[in-house]
């Protein structure tokens, strides 16, 4: 097992190297000049040139890459062109909102989707099943930002029950913290509830047709025990896979949700950095996302062996 983990971690090195080169080149080749943005609208071309030189953007691409990659290898992720803060500092400030939003979303999605999926499977073809599948299709179809704006309109503007936007850290009080995460988590969770409940339903239905389920029923086990202990456990591998994929895809979802609810997380940082062409920030954030993606896949693989003892690495 440890050898497997080590192998997988070593395999991330070429992935990260490729991402580093790709993102670095892509940023330099796309139009947009951070120096011109920093200088402001009333600046002259001379002022823009001076700032470009100051940021080292007038150096050849290879030199720029060597300087940047040398810094990263020695643990120096560079400094934002705009904020005059290190990239590490910016990320450390923004990581909590994103982590908390992701965590709440996944917990909410799993807590709702798995039982609903199992319920739909156990009532296959019935009205419960049809309702669940109907909502599932709707969850897939409605864009995240539409759900966000609808929830804001109903629960913040019309009813005044929840705040429109913003984020409070846990250290500023749990009440303030959780109340601001309710709508963003629901918004982001809708699509995952749809996805996970569908897969759960399909997987459980498939398992319910297996011989050992018939055997369990023949033994006289109650329907609930058969469903939860025998069917669900054996249906878990595809469910875990889709949850893992969901966690990875959350990275894209938080970008939109954080923008809709004005949450100062990594998603907003990425959007702001891309719009401002803040190269040092974009490079490190994307590498971090890539690394997270690889790690999540590793965790999913390890989870398989826990859920299914037949799988060994």
């Amino acid at each position: 097992m440890l050898a497997f983990i080590a192998r997988r971690l070593i395999a991330t090195i070429p992935v990260l190297l490729f991402v580093a080169v790709f993102v670095f080149m892509l940023l330099r080749l796309t139009p947009g000049d951070p120096a011109a943005i920093i200088a402001g609208d009333n600046a002259t071309a001379d002022q823009v040139d001076a700032i470009r030189a100051k940021l080292g953007l007038d150096e050849p691409l290879l030199t720029q890459f060597m300087i940047w990659s040398g810094g990263v290898l020695s643990g120096d992720f560079g400094e934002s062109f705009f904020f005059k803060k290190t990239v590490a500092e910016l990320i450390s400030q923004r990581i909590e909102p994103t982590l908390m939003l992701s965590l709440c979303t996944i917990i909410l999605a799993v807590l709702i989707a798995v039982p609903v999926g199992v319920l739909a499977a156990s009532r296959q073809g019935g009205w419960v099943d049809r309702i669940v599948m109907g909502f599932s299709v709707m969850g897939f179809s409605v864009p995240t930002f539409v759900i966000g704006y609808l929830l804001i309109y109903v629960f913040a503007i019309l009813l005044g029950w929840l705040p429109v936007q913003g984020y409070r850290r846990i250290s500023e009080g749990f009440g303030d913290f959780i109340i601001r995460l309710i709508m963003p988590s629901i918004t982001l969770a809708v699509i995952y509830i749809a996805l996970i409940s569908r897969i759960t339903r399909a997987s459980v239905i498939e398992t319910l047709g297996e011989d050992y389920i018939r055997t369990a029923r023949a033994k006289g086990l109650p329907g609930r025990v058969v469903l939860l202990r025998h069917a669900l456990r054996n249906a878990a591998v595809p469910i875990i896979t889709v949850i893992g994929i969901g966690v990875a895809l959350l990275i894209g979802g938080v970008v939109i949700t954080e923008s809709v609810y004005n949450i100062p997380g990594l998603g907003r940082l990425t959007v702001d950095a891309v719009l401002a062409r803040d190269f040092p920030v974009i490079q490190i954030v994307i590498m971090m996302f890539s690394f997270t993606f690889v790690l999540i896949n590793l965790v999913i693989d390890l989870a398989y062996s826990v859920l299914d003892p037949r799988i060994r690495y």
Partner: protein, 527 residues
């Protein structure tokens, strides 16, 4: 009974939630959303307006423009000018202190002026005339000129970016090409570095040691009396969320809601629209003078004949309550405004445009018009230009891009079909375009000028003459000549004035009328 009980429970729940969300200090905290994110904190290093606004919170100025754009002393107590108009002497007010408790001295001011003059167009112009800048004593300094200059006080009291803010000497001695690292000023608010989180909010607290002038506040001048304990500049890029948050009472002020949201905000009982910047903004159409076809003045003039202000204003702002057709380059209603010659910008004359193109030998090469799709107020300017120029006989290639790409591409002097450009649109706060010196679009010194790089020695002579002139009547004559010259050479086009009111909760009082949103004098009552 059950209904009453349910309602009571709901009311209690809402009350609890509201209490949950609100802090005890909410009434004393003014929460403001600016028109953009504040990322750079050095108002001399960038011309960005959000950074200028930050500057007004924490720094003070030697002079300031009042509500009528008259320059008034601010940090300066007394000033005098010699008979020959060459030596200007300034004495600071008593009791001025930096946020770290050190006294403000004339040495600080000298260092601050030197750094500002190295970056700002109006400062650079002033410095062409400065022979010496020296301290006399701890509170007095002198500017000695080589020859009389008509805009000394106007330069020192320049209202908009880049503003000559005063900084402690050790900070002001930072290389003008590098950002300052410390946020210590002597202004009415203190920046809380430890509480500010870029991308989330910037926090300022009232400066308890600030000594406001005795005069009532007017524009950017007069007594800067702070009436709230704390100002938070909340970063909120989405304009719909800004409006929602304002309606829900989570923020107090939105500096510049987009025009399409104004009817919604106007309909809300607890929201007030405030015309805090009565001079508004001016749209600009800029030609690239160094590449074909606009290196030919006749072709530029043909373009000016094809356009008209009303079409731009209708397409961008829409509601006539928020725009004004104005023939004057120096903003209607201000001292140097004149209609002379500007009528060609008010009505399209497509026949004249075609005639000029024929005379100029225009070969039908498409004109590349850059369209910004991410700055809503500018998005519709390019399609209007495309339509009008095509009717005037041009071929137009409109290329859409985000604003950041546009500001990058506008620095390129390559031919338009090789990554360069022919036309761009922008806008300027009116306070930046009130005279021939502060209006950067009028600089006609080639590479030293604004993007588009016009070269016109005659225009530079006129601007110099204006700068040297100290008689207001003669200045006005020269300003008129500048306008006529700009139109004669079709240096650029001013394509209408527009206004963007701010929006605030009805418990906010005292938002001053000025070209910059300022937060002294504002009171907040209730929660």
């Amino acid at each position: 009974m059950a209904i009453v009980s349910t309602s009571l429970k709901r009311a209690a729940a809402v009350g609890l939630l509201t209490a949950f969300m609100s802090g005890g200090a909410m009434a004393q905290t003014l929460r403001v959303v600016q028109h953009g994110n504040l990322t750079i904190l050095d108002p001399i290093w960038t011309t960005a307006y959000v950074t200028r606004n930050h500057g007004y919170l924490i720094y003070d100025t030697l002079f300031s423009a009042d509500e009528n754009y008259v320059t008034k002393p601010q940090m300066v107590d007394k000033w005098s000018v010699s008979q020959d108009k060459l030596t200007w002497s300034f004495t600071l007010r008593d009791g001025l202190e930096w946020h770290d408790g050190q006294p403000v001295t004339s040495e600080d001011c000298v260092a601050s002026l030197k750094r500002w003059a190295a970056r700002d167009a109006m400062g650079l112009k002033l410095w062409d005339f400065v022979k010496e800048l020296k301290t006399v004593d701890a509170k007095t300094f002198e500017i000695v000129l080589k020859e009389p200059y008509g805009l000394v006080l106007e330069s020192l009291g320049k209202p908009s970016s880049q503003v000559p803010f005063m900084m402690p000497k050790r900070i002001a001695e930072t290389n003008p090409m590098e950002q300052i690292k410390s946020q210590i000023g002597s202004g009415p608010f203190i920046y809380k570095t430890d509480e500010s989180k870029p991308g989330e909010k910037h926090v300022y607290i009232k400066n308890p040691k600030y000594k406001p002038r005795a005069e009532p506040a007017s524009g950017l001048a007069g007594g800067k009396v702070v009436k709230v304990a704390r100002v938070e500049l909340v970063e909120m890029p989405d304009t719909q969320i800004q409006a929602n948050a304002l309606i829900a009472g989570e923020i107090d002020i939105v500096e510049a809601p987009p025009h399409d949201l104004l009817p919604i905000l106007k309909a809300e009982k607890k929201i007030v629209l405030a015309d805090w910047n009565p001079l508004g903004q001016q749209f600009i159409i800029r030609f690239n003078h160094v590449v074909k076809p606009f290196d030919n003045p006749k072709i530029r003039l043909a373009a000016l004949y094809a356009i008209n202000q009303e079409d731009y204003l209708k397409a961008t702002v829409g509601d006539p309550a928020y725009y004004k057709v104005c023939a004057a380059v120096f903003i209607c209603g201000t001292p140097f405004a004149t209609d002379k010659g500007g009528e060609i910008l008010l009505k399209s004359n497509f026949e004249k445009s075609k005639e000029l193109l024929k005379e100029a030998g225009y070969d039908g090469t498409p004109v590349v018009v850059m369209q910004s799709t991410t700055l809503p107020i500018l998005t519709n300017t390019a399609p209007v230009t495309k339509s009008l120029l095509e009717r005037g006989g041009f071929k137009v290639d409109m290329q859409s891009m985000d604003w950041q790409t546009l500001v990058s591409r506008r620095t390129k002097k390559d031919p338009a079909d090789k990554g360069g450009w022919n036309i761009l649109h922008t806008f300027s706060v009116s306070a930046d375009v009130l005279n021939p010196i502060s209006t950067s679009y009028l600089v006609a010194a080639g590479d030293k000028g604004w993007f588009g790089w016009p070269t016109d020695p005659e225009m530079e002579k006129l601007r110099d003459a204006f700068a040297k002139e100290t008689d207001p009547a003669k200045q006005k004559e020269l300003a008129e000549k500048v306008q006529l010259r700009a139109l004669e050479t079709a240096q650029y086009g001013w394509i209408g004035q527009w206004y963007g009111p701010g929006a605030h909760r009805d418990n906010i009082k005292g938002w001053l009328k000025a070209p910059v949103p300022v937060f002294w004098n504002i009171e907040k009552t209730g929660s």
